[in-house]
């Protein structure tokens, strides 16, 4: 991935008692919304349809004018700016993407730089840089039309276009909403990795609580009538929902959802006796006594890669032999999120599994106990997904 330059530092975004009341509506679309989004963080607005989350977002770039209250970007009010000029400094990506079908991908991405009057060379270079940034080969897609790309590719172009003029703030309205689950997950991960480098201030709207928890540094849960129900980190939201509405909205499986916020490497892994073929049994017994697992040793090769478990029967021999050992599956990676690791253990009907690092060497054993323990970690120690991917 090429290095992303950020000449525009991200700025703080502040909603100050923002209200939007449409004439004739019996309740406001957004009511007294006050939010602080620190520079470089993703704030997810989430809630059921009609909760005012999109309205709140669209007031930032003045596609909708607030009835009262103010929105500050880097400390200055958006009201003092001409809407069109303001919008060119705010990246904008929507669910329907809205690529211009009659313009090539390069022309689409170049939209805002061209409005800003960048010289041709700079626009060209920037377009290629952005396409690479979103994992699209520039030479291949540059001169194509949107109709010739797949949905996932179009969505990437949409993100590239929103980033084109390197805006300090990005508004994203369900940007991955129309994509199949597998590609959505991939795009989400790619975007989080991108954000780890770019560090933009982002307002991200979704109705999907799982996406909110995954994407947000902070999550603002909104309810009907445009009221803010809770504004907190994903972990805090899952640990201590502010009220019944939030509790219901995050779902009964909120404990499980927290498992998606931690990785195997964050846990205290069990120590295990690592033995090689031909080791004398006395040595093995000593290693087992020193480990956290009784009566079991893990047979590894000379690179410490797991070969199989040695049980009572195999340990009765004089020296270690690989004959008859049970397979080491399931193995989990130190970088797996706990939810996936738990899934592995469950599908192999195992209470524990060897944990391997990037080279495949065993670094410990993950057990159900350790996972259960992880669920009791206080919220402030649980990182957000963005942090996980940044690490």
């Amino acid at each position: 991935m090429p290095e992303a330059r950020t000449p525009h530092p991200a700025v703080d975004l502040d909603f100050r008692a923002v209200t939007k009341q449409y004439p004739g509506a019996d309740q406001p679309a957004v009511e007294e919304l006050t939010l602080h989004v620190p520079a470089g963080e993703i704030c997810v607005l989430v809630g059921p349809s009609g909760c005012g989350k999109t309205t709140a977002m669209r007031m930032v770039n003045r596609l909708i004018e607030p009835t009262s209250g103010d929105i500050l970007l880097g400390g200055s009010s958006v009201k003092d700016r001409k809407p069109a000029e303001l919008r060119r400094e705010i990246g904008y990506a929507i669910q329907q993407i809205g690529l211009f079908p009659h313009k090539t991908i390069a022309e689409n991405v170049a939209t805002v730089p061209q409005l800003l009057g960048w010289p041709k060379d700079r626009v060209r270079a920037r377009v290629d840089e952005l396409l690479e940034l979103v994992s699209l080969p520039p030479a291949e897609v540059r001169d194509r039309y949107p109709g010739q790309l797949s949905g996932g590719q179009r969505q990437r172009v949409g993100v590239a276009r929103a980033l084109a003029a390197d805006p300090p703030v990005l508004l994203m309205d369900e940007p991955f909403g129309a994509i199949d689950p597998i590609n959505r997950e991939r795009l989400q991960n790619e975007f989080l990795r991108l954000q780890a480098e770019l560090r933009k201030t982002i307002v991200f709207v979704t109705h999907d609580i799982d996406e909110a928890i995954k994407m947000g540094d902070r999550v603002a849960v909104m309810k009907r009538g445009g009221k803010l129900a809770q504004y907190a980190s994903p972990a805090e939201l899952l640990m201590s929902p502010a009220d019944e509405f939030v509790e219901q909205f995050v779902g009964a499986d909120r404990a499980l959802k927290r498992l998606a916020l931690q990785r195997v490497r964050d846990l205290d892994l069990w120590r295990v006796a690592l033995v090689r073929e031909g080791d004398p049994m006395a040595e093995v017994r000593a290693k087992i006594a020193d480990s956290d697992i009784e009566n079991l040793a893990l047979l590894v090769d000379d690179q410490n890669r797991p070969l199989g478990w040695l049980g009572e029967r195999e340990l009765a021999a004089e020296r270690v032999s690989g004959v008859g050992c049970s397979p080491p599956e399931p193995t989990v990676d130190t970088n797996d999120v706990l939810r996936d690791a738990l899934g592995r253990l469950l599908s192999e009907e195992s209470l524990y599994g060897p944990v391997i690092d990037g080279r495949g060497a065993v670094v410990g054993v993950l057990s159900m106990d350790a996972i259960a323990h992880a669920l009791q970690t206080p919220a402030e120690d649980v990182p957000s997904s963005a942090d996980l991917l940044a690490g």
Partner: protein
Amino acid sequence: MTGADVLAAIEIRDRTGTGCVAENGFCPDWIADNIDKYWSPLLEHVFLSVTSVAIGFAIAFTLALLAHRFRWITGPTIAVTGALYTVPSVAAFLLLLPITGRGNGTAIVALVAYTLLILFRNITTGLRNVPEEAVSAARGMGLTDGQILRQIELPLAMPEILAGLRIAFTTTVGLATLAFFAGGGGLGEQLYSERAGTGGLNFKSNVVVAGGLTVLLASFGDLIFLTIQRLATPWRRAVAS
């Protein structure tokens, strides 16, 4: 006037086979000898058609842009242009005579009136069919209303706009044959009137030439607009391939 009188009125040149003309057949020799008489009416016809469609387009385009911004204009415009469209064409040319007098002007006014409904409808349809998400993305990225119109809406409405021009042009070429009722000249003069000296409606060779030139002109115009349409919308073919 009897058929024989008509035929007698035709100037018969030396080379022309008298038999063919007398029998009112299809006479290539006569056509070759008399084709000169059609060039200037053809040019008049081109002038009438092109001018009328151009003026009609200017008016319809302005009205469509207004209707795009102020929706309420659409209904009344359709009502008025629709009413104009239903006036029988010969009647329209004759009705205008007392107001605008004989000549090109009268013919063009009538022809313009007939293009308005077609063009207005197609332009507004084209603008309305522009994907809403493209417009809202454009607005969200900071394009002004004028930029959205020029860079997004009009290019995307091109297929419908050009389709409208194609229909309007072919229709106008056909209707322009009636322009001579208002003294507007054109191929209609040759086709219908004996005064043109080509035998009028009763002489088959004349009908074939005058009618044929009209059809050729319409087809040629259609081809030009079709070519423009293809050149102006490369993305549509790219998607199909």
